[in-house]
Symmetry: none
């Protein structure tokens, strides 16, 4: 199996001001292409240090993937470091310059003179086009190592890796792979999920099984190594089937699937439609739903009713209800959901009202108290959650949004006949 | 200034299944203690590789901080690697064994025999007690480098660093520090910002100045090293003043301040209020605004008008306008902003309608085309942006949300008399 180093450049990374998420992404993608990453190195924007690391890397492995340092400013040094280690000069690459000018022109701007440096490439390097940014990537042979330099901006890097690097590595892989799979669950805590999978999580098992928790979503990770992709896939399939039998409907998706996407899948093609009414989440549920391409087929929109007057004006929540129970109450959550469904003519609606903190809590209604209203045809239900007054604001908001989406998901499963009608407990780690 | 390397061990880190957040945490803490981290290395659980990295590190720097590899299992190799590089044997450390037995006893468990290995230390090493876990840390002199080995579990590592490492480094620092500052800008591309700061970004300058770009926000980073904190702060103040003079109102905040927080600051205490009308951003602007604690003082909410019917039902956008110009048009963006302000009784409103993709674009109205409506007292303006049809959906949405918030910010600055009324171009790298 070929061995790789991943190098990320950036003083802000070395000094700890930003977390390097590019390197783990690259290592995971490399594994799927039959390349084992043995080392990641983060190095400050310093030409001598960058050259040192490149020299070490090209002595230690077969493939080097660099990210960052291809921008237009003084602290972007990857081009120069590659040229220095290869002992060649930098030369203007006219097609890259043309791409740069076109990129700016398409945005109605003149290219600053400074950006010309992004079209300078080490003599003999292969230029990797950037389809969603300015900086082209580079492929350079250094000693025995095949060296790919990619941008540091994540979405530019991802696109260039898939278009330019993955095909080159795949053709050279010879079949061996490490494959990952992720199953996402909502409704049980991490230790409960772990308890149900304890035998599958023994070290040394292939596939290896592990769990991680984030905002109530417990991710079950499977990791299989095999001599061929089909063999690895079969190992993953078998273990996934076993896990699905044990965990049932708490599994809502695989890989990058979100709760909002799972809800969308259940709504799509049924004629059901959805609206939202958000108080403490302030638009977050709408944001999560519309993160999903094609969500306009079932999601029409809704109200961000942060102030009481908006609950009345846009959703028709009776003033009397607000005065009698307060804005953070189950009756108001239900009225918000009913108001959204009625005013916007949708079959389903979710509503959230709560206290996200850090202030605004009282002994009766502490920070973390959230009411969720769920309207489905012929029925409106209310739910109370207490997410913990010691949680930060963003955690409470995301937990509330996830819980609302999960309640809707279970309701849709239930009416589609594939799940028992049971209230899922909120999760905690 | 002393120089450090941070080493993190773990096959799951090297293979990209987990993101290494320990190293950036350590680098940031080291900086505050007057130590500049020049490199992070993540290495798989492999004894030979770990020894290699340790040897390189101890040649390259004054301080090495390791995290991970102190557990009780086969793949915990830090103790052995330190002993090998120091050319000393591992020896049982009786007080550590006692701590281990007591740790398990306190939890009503018998210590597994396997854990004895955690009490083995390289001869001559200083043992760093673990107050919240089993594995003791180690301090070993390797060549000229002072080497600290800490656990990989984050909360154990944090506690041991603060108790054992920070005091040792602080007393050796003699007051020297490395301090950071960040200035956030919106409205110019990275190369334009770099052009205006080119002399300040020369390598070797103190403070060092660098830039990074994310979703149109260009962050200017300052790092000052000095013999005392007050001296470093003064250096930062001087350079910040110089940068502010050159960049003016494109600077919207410092440190963790967001565009939404900057808008909030300008609205707060003026009596002005804000509502939103979001189509393609689907609630994202509301989410960003309500990320800010206390935003209910000026933000009342708004409509997520993803479907045309919602634009009409909640915002009163005339059907005729939708039919004549289409939902993605400047007149509709303006009508949405006016509708939100009128229906919700706010002084200001922002509206966004556009095509976030990946589908839905046409030659006339491509993916990335976004109209922003901005209502302020007595005036409603419309703006057209083309964020690039090659951008992914989430990038277009975030860019649209940021641009809308920035337009509002500039409008508020203008009416408060502190900025010229000029249209900022959209940014790209």
């Amino acid at each position: 199996m070929r061995r790789a180093w991943v190098l990320a450049t950036g003083t802000e990374l070395a000094l700890g001001q930003s977390v390097d998420t590019n390197s783990p992404w690259l290592a995971a993608r490399l594994a799927a292409l039959g390349v084992r990453t043995e080392r990641h190195v983060v190095v400050a924007d310093d030409l001598a240090a960058l050259r040192d690391v490149l020299r070490e890397a090209t002595r230690g492995c077969d493939i080097v993937v660099l990210t960052g340092g291809l921008g237009p400013t003084e602290d972007d040094l990857t081009r120069q470091a590659l040229a220095d280690v290869a002992e060649v000069p930098l030369e203007l690459h006219p097609p890259s310059l043309e791409h740069l000018r076109a990129f700016f022109a398409a945005r109605g701007r003149r290219m600053p003179e400074r950006n010309v440096v992004q079209a300078m490439v080490p003599r003999g390097a292969q230029v990797l086009p950037n389809t969603c940014g300015t900086a082209p990537g580079l492929r350079v042979r250094l000693g025995r190592a095949d060296c790919f330099a990619l941008p540091g901006v994540p979405f530019e890097m991802y696109a260039m890796f898939e278009r330019e690097v993955a095909p080159a590595l795949r053709s050279a892989a010879g079949g061996a792979v490490l494959l990952f799979r992720r199953l996402h669950t909502y409704g049980l805590g991490e230790s409960d999920v772990g308890q149900r999978l304890v035998d599958l999580m023994q070290p040394g098992r292939n596939p290896t099984v592990g769990t991680t928790a984030q905002h109530g979503v417990i991710v079950v990770r499977l990791y299989a190594s095999a001599g061929s992709e089909s063999e690895a896939q079969q190992l993953l399939d078998e273990t996934e089937a076993e896990i699905r039998q044990r965990l049932g409907t708490i599994i809502f998706g695989t890989e990058d699937e979100t709760l909002a996407a799972a809800v969308g899948k259940l709504l799509l093609g049924t004629g059901a439609t959805l609206s939202t009414a958000e108080s403490c989440t302030g638009g977050l549920i709408g944001k999560l739903l519309t993160d999903v391409p094609g969500s306009s087929a079932y999601y029409v929109g809704g109200a961000v009713s942060y102030a009481n007057e908006v609950k009345t004006a846009l959703l028709g929540v009776p003033n009397e209800l607000l005065e009698r129970y307060g804005a953070v109450s189950e009756p108001v959550a239900r009225a918000m959901a009913e108001g959204a469904a009625a005013r916007l003519g949708t079959s389903h609606a979710v509503a959230v009202t709560g206290i996200a903190g850090p202030t605004g809590g009282t002994p009766q209604k502490p920070v973390g108290l959230v009411y969720i209203g769920l309207h489905s045809p012929g029925r409106t239900e209310g739910y109370e959650y207490r997410f913990g007054s010691d949680y930060p604001r963003d955690v409470i908001r995301l937990r509330a949004a996830h819980t609302a989406l999960n309640l809707l998901r279970l309701k849709l499963l239930e009416t589609q006949g594939s799940a028992p009608a049971r209230r899922m407990p909120d999760t905690c780690r």
